[in-house]
């Protein structure tokens, strides 16, 4: 009887521990949904001055994506190892250039990339190979990839940031940019930003 009690106590202790900790380390069941907000993601402020200035961030520390100084942030989940991301890179660059080349959009719409399972070195290789002009962030241990529902790559998420600092996801979809003109139109239409 005593042994049974001991086993039961061990089982309960284990069950409690699974309940408490599993929510913090297991993957989200689905990608972020349209209309919802982003899960908690902390990114290191970029080292490069130009990246910090582009995102309107302070000089060091960590930040959350809705703290980026913009009305719309387009987030690409990519991997250096993903052939589709490699093939789509020139179109994503075109998208960036179209935004930066338009005075009405330049300070309103920003682009960032998150390298799922990529180290800083691997992200840098991708940036150099494809001359990526916007900030890329490493997610070496897949921790961001996990909270985003372990999406396949490339995957794009668009968020609209409100004046009070709150935000909403207006786009969340698997697949590349493919056609930068159409993609930008879609982002502007769905976000309502002109």
């Amino acid at each position: 009887m005593k042994t049974m009690k001991k086993i039961l106590i061990h089982f309960i202790a284990l069950a409690v521990c699974v309940f408490v900790f599993s929510s913090t380390v297991t993957a989200a069941k689905s990608p972020p949904l349209k209309g919802a907000i982003l899960p908690e993601i902390n990114l290191a402020v970029p080292v490069k001055d130009s990246d910090r200035s582009y995102l309107g961030l302070p000089t060091s520390g960590f930040f959350k994506i809705p703290q980026i100084k913009a009305r719309v942030v387009i987030i690409e989940i990519f991997s250096m190892y993903c052939p589709h991301c490699q093939g789509d890179a020139p179109d994503v660059n075109k998208l960036y250039n179209m935004i930066e080349g338009n005075p009405k959009l330049k300070n309103k719409v920003k682009l960032i990339g998150i390298g799922a399972g990529n180290s800083s070195y691997e992200v840098e290789v991708f940036a150099k190979t494809y001359h990526i002009p916007f900030p890329l962030f490493a997610d070496m241990d897949y921790s961001i990839h996990k909270v985003l529902g372990e999406v396949r790559t490339p995957y794009f998420i668009g968020i609209k940031i409100n004046n009070d600092g709150t935000h909403r996801i207006f786009y969340s979809k698997l697949g590349g940019v493919d056609n930068p003109d159409q993609f930008l139109d879609l982002m502007l239409r769905l976000s309502g930003v002109k």
Partner: protein, 201 residues
């Protein structure tokens, strides 16, 4: 809390932590829904038969692009990186060589060639590597006699696939680096490049 209960809690945390880590990998949409997802596998399941400093056993294997590749053809000419990956159409493997495919310049800079090897047959490798774009390096089939080269190096697992293993062989044919990696995880690109740079110092 009693010692034994503490142990249960700690065991639970460790188990969750390990499960959390090992189940994660990215996957390119290039392969659509054609990737078979095995359970987490035993990290390594073979015993190396070569060591650093040994002369690399020579081999010849058929290439997907046609003809046979002899390891010895690179003697005195190129450093060689051999990348064994376990199997075509599996998650981590499908997201490994496409990364190497964009760093031809880094291999050239270090006077190195890459040889990709699996124990799949040529038609399977042809269909699989076609999803990766035009690969600049030879992809070799160690299908028949099944896994003979992998076994010679000691990286053939008990279920007939290979380890996720890297060997770096210098121009004199000497093995200078071995990484029999956890089969569930992709080795870091920087590890390979760092070792190649060390060869050229």
């Amino acid at each position: 809390m009693k010692k034994s209960n503490c142990f249960s809690v700690l065991l639970g945390i460790v188990l969750i932590f390990l499960l959390g880590i090992t189940s994660s990998y990215g996957l390119s949409d290039a392969f659509k829904d054609n990737i078979y997802h095995p359970e987490n596998l035993k990290p390594t399941d073979s015993v190396l038969k070569v060591k650093i400093g040994d002369r690399a056993p020579d081999f010849s294997l058929p290439a997907v692009s046609g003809g046979k590749i002899f390891l010895s053809r690179y003697l005195g000419k190129k450093n060689v990186v051999i990348s064994f990956v376990p199997a075509a159409w599996t998650p981590v493997c499908s997201d490994q060589w496409p990364g190497y495919n964009i760093v031809k310049g880094l291999f050239n800079k270090n006077d190195a060639i890459l040889l990709g090897i699996t124990v799949d047959n040529i038609p399977t490798l042809f269909a699989w590597t076609n999803q990766m774009g035009d690969l600049w390096f030879p992809v070799l089939s160690d299908f028949w006699p099944h896994g003979r080269v992998a076994d010679t190096y000691g990286v053939l697992r008990s279920d007939g696939v290979t380890e996720r293993a890297l060997f770096i062989i210098d121009k004199k044919g000497i093995i200078r680096y071995i990484d029999v990696h956890d089969i569930n995880k992709r080795p870091r690109l920087e590890s390979i490049i760092r070792e190649l740079e060390n060869l050229n110092k």
